[in-house]
Symmetry: D2
């Protein structure tokens, strides 16, 4: 019996078009980011976002997030984020390495989203003196850690709040494509038009191999390129990272892949019905599942992560066609 794995989109294969792009890039060129492909990133992302932006490749989302935050926060300052944000719970403290020890200040919020009222309350509770750490940025995740997509209006509310307090706004977009595919907005609407300063634009979970993009909407702050080099993230054959990213965005593959993953997730979500712990708006399904039920599914050839007691997380990816997940949906319904 083949096991169908729904652990993470992190484990999915690389999309064939990305593999082809890598093959096509396989010639001599200038080292680091002096090559022709890397040079195309700014304009490709400017097209995608409908305004002049500056973009840069790095190998991982953790590096993208950390550099984005370090560009806006000094060591004695802080980043406001959700208490279950990836930067807090899944990056081994990476942001603090890159920014010299700045604090992550944790906020609650349903579905792993934070809102302006919570931010305002927290800002109001901080004395403006040198004893207390002062926030300098907000980081939100889209889609959120629980697979919820942000609407442009939701982001704009946080964006205005950020501006009011003089804070930069970062969006961790590890699953940005899935979120945009769900909401149906333009990439611009949910980012710079809503006040986002910098976006970690995810590719790896969405069919890439090892390239993510960092997109600065209001200019690249001083030191960003140095931080990339200094953290060992300036690859000498950077053209292979640029190639992956261009393959994703220049022809719309990023949205196509996200739509596939979302559709597959929707099929499973429909089957899960009342079991769902969160609305399924991207490619993650959190559902109630007893140990016995989990065992039943696993015995039927489906594997996934337990999510605490009595719950499970399933993640679909670009490679799942609707038909692929029907057996799982049926199995869930049959529980």
């Amino acid at each position: 019996m083949t096991i169908q794995r729904f652990f993470s989109d992190n484990a999915a294969p690389v999309h064939p078009q990305v593999m082809e792009a890598l093959a096509a890039a396989n010639a001599v060129d200038t080292a680091y980011d002096g090559d022709a492909l890397s040079a195309r990133l700014d304009s490709a992302f400017s097209d995608l976002f409908g305004k002049p932006v500056e973009a840069m490749w790095v190998a991982t989302g953790t590096a993208a997030n950390s550099i984005a935050l370090a560009a806006h926060v000094r060591p004695w300052q802080a980043v406001l984020c959700h208490e279950e944000a990836h930067i807090e719970v899944d990056e081994c403290g990476a942001p603090a390495l890159f920014n010299g020890g700045a604090k992550l200040m944790l906020l609650p919020g349903a579905g792993a989203k934070i809102d302006a009222a919570t931010i305002d309350a927290r800002m109001g509770a901080i004395r403006k003196d040198v004893h207390q750490v002062q926030p300098a940025a907000i980081s939100i995740t889209n889609a959120s850690e629980y697979g919820l997509a942000w609407t442009p209006d939701e982001v704009a509310t946080v964006g205005e709040c950020a501006r009011r307090h003089g804070l930069a706004l970062h969006m961790d977009g590890a699953r940005f494509a899935n979120a945009v595919a769900h909401v149906g907005c333009t990439p611009a609407d949910v980012t710079w038009r809503a006040g986002v300063d910098v976006l970690s634009f995810g590719c790896v979970k969405n069919g890439g191999m090892n390239a993510e993009a960092l997109v600065f909407f209001n200019g690249m702050p001083a030191g960003v390129k140095e931080m990339r080099k200094r953290s060992g993230h300036l690859q000498s054959k950077g053209r292979y990272l640029a190639a992956q990213i261009l393959a994703m965005i220049e022809g719309g593959l990023w949205l196509d892949n996200a739509r596939s993953a979302n559709r597959a997730a929707a099929i499973i979500a429909q089957a899960a019905g009342e079991r769902l712990l969160h609305p399924v708006e991207a490619n993650e399904i959190f559902l109630r599942l007893t140990a016995e039920e989990a065992a039943t599914l696993r015995a039927a050839g489906f594997d996934f992560y337990d999510w605490g007691e009595g719950a499970a997380r399933l993640v679909t990816s670009w490679q799942h066609a609707v038909g692929d997940v029907q057996p799982l949906a049926d199995a869930i319904r049959a529980l």
Copy 2:
């Protein structure tokens, strides 16, 4: 006219066998380093080095060097290295990011090598108190920044010196393959048998895409895996890095490629004759060249880096067959 580029092996294409290995790895697997290929690294390197070792992939040589050093040096300590070492002059201060600000203490030495006498002298000049920074490691580069290969005996002398002073010994092997190919020793002889504790085993310059290996000969110190994650270097699709490394070492490609590059360099070196600034023992040629002569070569279709005034650096790579570089050799002879 096609320009033949001798800027850097950093800019060479990826070797076809590595590309094939990437294609072969393109299936679902466990994320991060839980996959079957990553799991094979320890044994593959143990075979290569003739003793049980622990190995780990990272994307760049800068990351490999920085993690290796941070594993052995605390923030208030220092690393002894050559004043022209890559970690000092070409990594934007990366070692200090990873290890919390430890100092690089710079030593002179012909051909960018350092020797035991120089190390002893420096160690003797440091007061053993809390005011002066105390070294905890030595880092050497093989092949050196000027393309010189270390013999096992040379390394052993530094290794004994390291042991005498209680220092760890790191080897930056960005061009390790070229050095071993030149000397004709076993990889073991010039590393752990000579006192090396940890090796940055280079693949990218030698035909890889974006994977280097870090090889620990005396166990992996606590915190290494955490450092990799915390610096954003734990890739979720790590199997594609493992695949590259295995493609290089399991069938001997690493040595084959290095031999090709070395042979090509030797052809050029022979033509350069009296012009050579350093013996050519790997794949780098440093030679005297007036501005006029450089212009002549460039007009003939060969490009390369100037190396200060009146000198140039040329680097060959795995892709250069002997015939490929003959025209350049002829052009140099004709100057």
Copy 3:
């Protein structure tokens, strides 16, 4: 009208015996901590704690706490502490500077104390992998941020919990003297006998000028002296810090001063009665106070900090005799 200030023991004068000790130390001696007074610290604290300990002066509690934690925690690890701990809310992120960015993981707890059950629960919720930050130490504050004294049994419960999880236990004793004076235990009972590894022993709030002691009960970890120097805390005329500390502990002044402050606080507490937000066990009084009532007290010549809305904090110090605070107590009663 003279204003009586109950803002903080931080603002109290230096006790006359400490001033005399400074005058007595005013002669030529060896620089840094090579002097005769600094040399006496280990034995003086060993006497105080009834076992051989190693002790060291630093100028501030923030430095003491930060060095204590950095000695036990690596940059990728964490310290468990109360969400209102001084190290979290009043030190501008100092612990992260000293330890390279380790996280403070915040726990709830009544009266700013944390208990074993909360720690166990938090430890149980952390996956043991490189993605999640792993705690390496616990920090508790005695007296707590709300002026509660820990009993030896309470500390022992946390101490056992620390041992169970392999965590070091630090006690921030900025008001250690007040806590011990209240409980009536020996200093040993509430520290090393209960599992404390390292104590920040406060002097400044208790009549010192600018010297605190760091006391290691299980040996001083490697690097502590280097951290002190490297953070600019190794004073060249360190004998004046040693003199202050010895003046406090060799003749029992530390307890006498704490008792004075505690007695004064008790007088006010008795007057406050039902207004108290926390039991008064040291020298801090937190009480309900409307804006109008606060204005009345201020008009009568007493000043203090507001503590959010509808509450206030008053702090007594060594210099307050019982008679000194009677007028304030009367004024509170009269509200």
Copy 4:
């Protein structure tokens, strides 16, 4: 026999006027730097330097230097300084702790001074790319590590060089008073008029107890106060530091003390004659002295540091009257 100690001005007693100032400050006041004495620092230093400046106390020269440099240098940048500068050889790497790992780039120079030509040459040798660390500041020491005083013209040459390259200029003035006393210039002439941006104004070696001043001539950069707090250097009873500094500068004690020390050094220097390794321009005497001669002096009751083989360093301080050092001068002459 009483031993006369010429090890370091670091070990001298505190001047009686400073002790009196401490006693005078011994009353209740606002904590941290909210007190009346701390508030006077800006105007006192503005008077001293003949222009509006911002000043701040810290406990040690290492803290002063480190904060000054961290205010002008980002982690991926560098400070140019002499290879024997105190910040390089005697501070256990403190600058790198405060600034997140920025590099000290070491320059040669007679008498531990650096000059514009050396700086220009070094700046010229650095490629302007992200691989190489770019300097952002220069640090000079006045008096230098070998006791040489800088003239206003000498500083101005470096100041112009700094401006040319866009670098900040820091002066480590641990013995600033001795240097100014020797040259006879105004404090302004040798600092801001010559291009110095920030000065570590030393008090401890010159009769203080544990307070140094940091003087910013062109405004205090953002983050300086936070850095002081975050490094544990914001003392709660800061008024005792302000008191020391004001006692030194408001009545001219700083210059009187320096003149005493310089005069005493001159007497010894005259006796040393041909033995001198450096001109004696402040209060340090470096002289040739065989092991036998050193033993003779020590047998006669004078002690001091050996300075490598065949040399010694003697330091005088404010407490040495001319008559006090005559016996030593005679003993040197008699060798």
